[in-house]
Amino acid sequence: MSVFLALTFSGVALGAVYFLAASGLSLIYGLMDILNFAHGLFMTLGAYAAWDVATHLPASWGAPTLFGVALVASILGGALAAGLTEVLIIRHLYARPVSQILVTIGLDLAVVGLLLGGFGSNSLSVPVPLWMMEASKIGSVNLPNADFVALLAGVIVLVALEWFLARTRFGITIRAGVENRTMVSALGVHVGRAFTLVFIIGGAMAGLAGLLYSVVFSGDLVSPTQGDSLLIFAFIVVVIGGLGSIRGSAIAALLVGLVQDYTNFYLGTHPGFAEIGNLSVVLLLAVVLEWRPRGLLGRAL
């Protein structure tokens, strides 16, 4: 039973990271109809920004402070990368979906190549506090402290995004824009500004996801291609949850994290089943789409 509980907690933590990766993607596609294949890049750049800042500050600051600064750097790094991408590239391609796909894929490949050239293919280590590498005993179950951090981050972002979308004028604009962006403009609202903000928020969440994925699931290591690995699961979460629905993304991320964790543990050790966790996620996607083509809480496709 304790193994099952530990697996469940680990799956929920993985789901929290998937949610962070997917929430921005969902908003960007839901509002702007933009298939942003550079979203994985925002995750990678967020993680690299965290590594860069944390390793260039004096070690005397202590690991907890450095990690706190790294968290902020990952958010700002992802937000800056996403904001620049929207302003310099995406804004000029609104009515050209094929160009959006090609350009965002190209941007991802180019920047990942630059990272490989600049930092090498070896993974880089982000300094984390000692307690994050330890576990806490709750009842009879040992739960990794790093998982608590991921879970806490996911919950904070979910609550903050729900509040932002429900209570602020920008949030109302974004929700209205998901339904009918032309009519939002016809009310005198500058939708372009909301678009840029959506990209920046999505990038910030992606940057945070990039760092937390490194810390929680990659042994504190940052690598140039980690965002691309995470992106495929983010897309799956967005589709299962329903385009443009933050709550849908949260539920889908939990499902994906749990299914992946359970199947990896219970079936992945059998010969030939090493990738069963990934396969199970794709099967989950197929089942949900067959049952509910618009996703769990999404708008009609």
């Binding site: 004028r169 339904e179 009519m183 939002v184 009310l187 005198g188 500058h190 939708v191």
Partner: protein
């Protein structure tokens, strides 16, 4: 002074020439009706004035040349738009629909709720669950909040029960005391009651402008305009 000046306005949609060199003026004040059979380009004309479709030609609204202006900037000149199918945001509450439309620091909620007290009672209700008439109230309230001097109103009576059309006419009559209204409408009775001037479109061109009194000959109105007597 004219509230609207349109010169040689042309719009092509999907390879079809919907508007072909449309030219007309709308004098400031009162209601001017834009008439014509279904599919002659009335809605496209309103959308073109707001820059919602690609267009050629000159459009001056409230004295300003709108060439190159994005739709939201055209609206901020003081132009309110009530679309044909209301286009309320169904997932947003009534309150949020109105809040989204606020473009001035002191939105005219007192005035709006005096005209539509039901909207105050239903502030928390999702707009998608409202009846057609209630959604029309939201659509009109969104532009009244800002006290815009020019309103483009597209078939407001469409799908409404006769009693509601009468209420709608009362509201538009009061609004017209302060704002210029360019009204697209198929309901002949409503046009006769509200409009002082008519512009008639056919095959993407203006074929007649004149006084609404000319519509007294109903057979003429039906034959050339495709409008029906009602409410």
């Amino acid at each position: 002074m004219n509230a609207v000046e349109v010169r040689e306005l042309s719009v092509t949609l999907g390879g079809s020439h919907v508007l072909q060199g449309v030219t007309f003026d709308v004098p400031a004040g009162g209601v001017t009706a834009l008439l014509g059979r279904n599919g002659v380009g009335k809605t496209t004309t309103l959308r073109a004035l707001l820059g919602m479709v690609e267009r050629r030609g000159e459009v001056r609204l409230l004295g300003t040349d709108t060439a190159g202006l994005a739709t939201h900037r055209v609206v901020r000149l003081g132009v309110g738009y009530v679309p044909e199918d209301r286009d309320v945001f169904s997932g947003l509450s009534v309150e949020e629909n109105l809040r989204l439309a606020e473009q001035r620091s002191d939105p005219l909620y007192d005035e709006v709720f005096a005209l539509f007290p039901e909207l105050k009672e239903r502030a928390r209700q999702r707009a998608g669950t409202l009846s057609g008439g209630q959604q029309q109230m939201v659509a009109i309230a969104r532009v009244l909040l800002n006290g815009w001097p020019l309103l483009l109103v597209d078939e407001p009576s469409k799908g409404l029960a006769p009693l509601l059309v009468s209420d709608l006419a009362d509201v538009l009559e009061r609004v017209a005391e302060r704002s210029t209204i360019l009204l697209v409408e198929q309901n002949l009775a409503l046009i006769k009651r509200l409009a002082s001037r008519v512009i008639v479109l056919d095959h993407g061109e203006v074929i007649h402008t004149g006084s609404s009194a000319e519509l007294a000959d109903e057979s003429l109105a039906r034959r050339f305009l495709g409008v029906t007597s009602g409410a």
